[in-house]
């Protein structure tokens, strides 16, 4: 990827200080190009959550410039924020599945939100469930699934609207170590099809075993940015 490629995420001199006085991010400069797979690592309180919250525009930076998927997040209007979020899929650590809805309904929910028609919903949800290996569990309820399977439902929901960017916030945090590999392998497979993946993790083994770009945060600053296969952190 050369320097002229338009980045999918670009932080320029971004700082974020909360009302409580906590300096969560300090002068962050980073460029993530389309099609990249990036691990974001760092100890608790390093600024990983704030980094993600700024990208999904749950929080607004105090200074600097931040562009995500072509949206200028320093200037974006409130009514455009939902449209920004439709360009990305979010995977949560705690899965966030609605317990009263079946696997199919949980995934379809994301399509209802954007007003998709019923036929398309049926077709796309079935396809994405097959892709994550849950084609035969469409009618199951979340409590009938293992942690790994529940996270795959979460992944299917994030993917169903075909976003250009996947934000995964510690997606393996609540999953058995052996199943964590499955999740990251699935994300890698999705990445290979062209979707940009940004994954926050604490799991150094995963970072070491899957050779992707790694951004390391410490006390709100980027202290390391190793290109894919660029060595251990």
């Amino acid at each position: 990827m050369n320097a002229t490629t338009k980045p999918i995420i670009e932080f320029r001199g971004v700082s974020k200080t909360y009302k409580t006085g906590t300096h969560a991010l300090k002068d962050v400069n980073i460029r993530i190009n389309p099609g990249e797979f990036v691990f974001v690592v760092g100890a608790s309180g390093a600024g990983k959550s704030t980094f993600m919250k700024l990208i999904v525009r749950e929080e607004k930076a105090n200074t600097g410039s931040l562009i995500v998927n072509g949206f200028d997040l320093m200037k974006i209007r409130n009514r455009s924020i939902p449209h920004l979020r439709r360009t990305m899929g979010i995977v949560f650590q705690d899965f966030r599945l609605i317990p009263t809805m079946s696997v199919f309904e949980n995934v379809a929910f994301a399509m209802h939100v954007i007003g998709a028609d019923r036929r398309k919903i049926r077709k796309d949800v079935s396809a994405v469930l097959s892709m994550v290996g849950l084609g035969n569990k469409a009618r199951s309820m979340p409590n009938q699934l293992s942690g790994g399977e529940q996270q795959r439902v979460g992944l299917a929901r994030a993917l169903v609207n075909k976003p250009s960017l996947i934000i995964a916030d510690e997606p393996t945090g609540n999953v058995d170590p052996n199943l964590s590999y499955d999740i990251v392998a699935k994300l890698t497979e999705i990445n290979k099809q062209g979707t940009t993946v940004l994954m926050v993790t604490h799991d150094h083994n995963l970072v070491r075993d899957f050779q992707h770009r790694v951004i390391m945060l410490e006390e709100g600053r980027i202290v390391a940015d190793n290109a894919a296969g660029g060595g251990n952190i």
């Binding site: 939902p82 979020r85 966030r96 209802h112 007003g115 019923r118």
Partner: protein, 346 residues
């Protein structure tokens, strides 16, 4: 928002009502109680207003005309209330003065002029009706009414004095609050000699009407606020119980109006269910109360429910739908501004 989204969200709203059925039943129950009380307040105030209206119609003003008798006997009412001694004196003077009174001393000489005066009176602002009461008819009605069974005591009236009453007009008013002005206008009309009225009763009626009006408005206003609080509270509870869903909606790019709609539908449905059940309950309560009051007091003049059913249903639907919309919009907007803006950590 697309039509299919609206249909999906409407189904979701109704589904949520069933999912939170305990809360739904509680809200419908309290909202229904408020609506029934509002309905009762409306019905009571309408019935009292009707009764007061009847009283108003009975509170007539008698305008005595300036005719021969009025010159002969002075103020007819005063004359009539005075003692028998006075009547005998008047009797002799009547005989003696009869010839001394010329036609120029009074203004109403015949029935034609009396009817013309009635017509003039009917044109006064706030006058509802004017009924011509010739002196003979006036005397008859006094005999039949006030003096019933004691006619023999008053035979002297016919024998010795003839009829001392003047021709008169029986006047009813449209609005008792303008009683004084109207009375003055009647008094000032040329050809009217004197008027007889019950201004005390008019004042009491006005005070009663005002009191009922003010009490009704307060009761309805308080109950409306209670209804709004109830619906808002239900929506708030269901909203917090659906934090997870809202966070997912936000994460996948739902607009605020998309998130809001199922809650609004929920609120409005609670309102409509409450309105329907309240109408039924009010109908039975009113029927029972009407029969009981009718039996006890013999009043048959109570407004029938079917006469006001449309109004009541309209009021209930308006309360239900409005409190549903306003309550849910206020609550969900508040929520989305605060807690709802954070979705990555709930």
């Amino acid at each position: 928002m697309k039509l299919r989204s609206v249909s999906y969200l409407s189904k979701e709203g109704v589904k949520n009502l069933w999912a939170n059925r305990l809360m739904t039943v509680a809200s419908v129950g309290v909202l229904m109680a408020c609506m029934v009380l509002i309905g009762l307040a409306v019905l009571i105030s309408m019935n009292v207003n009707k009764a007061v209206g009847n009283l108003e119609q009975q509170n007539v003003i008698m305008a005595y005309f300036n005719d021969k008798n009025s010159v002969l006997y002075g103020d007819a009412s005063e004359e009539f209330n005075s003692s028998q001694d006075a009547s005998s004196t008047t009797s002799s003077s009547a005989d003696s003065t009869d010839t001394t009174i010329s036609e120029d001393d009074y203004l109403i000489h015949n029935e034609e002029e009396a009817l013309a005066l009635c017509d003039k009176l009917s044109k006064i602002d706030n006058v509802l009706s004017v009924e011509y009461v010739p002196s003979e008819e006036g005397l008859e009605s006094i005999k039949e009414g006030l003096l019933e069974g004691k006619e023999e005591y008053f035979e002297f009236l016919d024998k010795d004095h003839g009829n001392p009453l003047s021709d008169a007009a029986k006047i009813t008013l449209k609005d008792m609050s303008k009683f004084k002005e109207t009375l003055q206008a009647i008094k000032d009309t040329e050809g009217v000699d004197s008027v007889q009225s019950q201004s005390d009763l008019a004042d009491k009626i006005n005070a009663l009407k005002d009191g009922i009006g003010i009490a009704g408005v307060w009761i309805i206003a308080i109950l409306l606020i209670i209804s709004l609080v109830i619906v808002s509270n239900t929506i708030r509870v269901t909203m917090y119980s659906r934090k997870l869903e809202i966070s997912i909606m936000k994460a996948v790019g739902a607009t605020n109006s998309f998130i809001r709609l199922p809650f609004v539908i929920e609120g409005v449905t609670i309102g409509i269910i409450s309105a329907a059940t309240s109408t039924a309950i009010l109908y039975f309560c009113y029927r029972v109360a009407m029969e009981a009051i009718g039996d006890a007091l013999g009043i048959i003049n109570i407004i029938a429910f079917k006469e006001v059913a449309l109004l009541i249903v309209g009021i209930f639907l308006a309360i239900g739908v409005l409190s549903g919309i306003v309550g849910s919009v206020i609550m969900i907007s508040k929520y989305l501004k605060k807690e709802g803006s954070e979705f990555t950590a709930i």
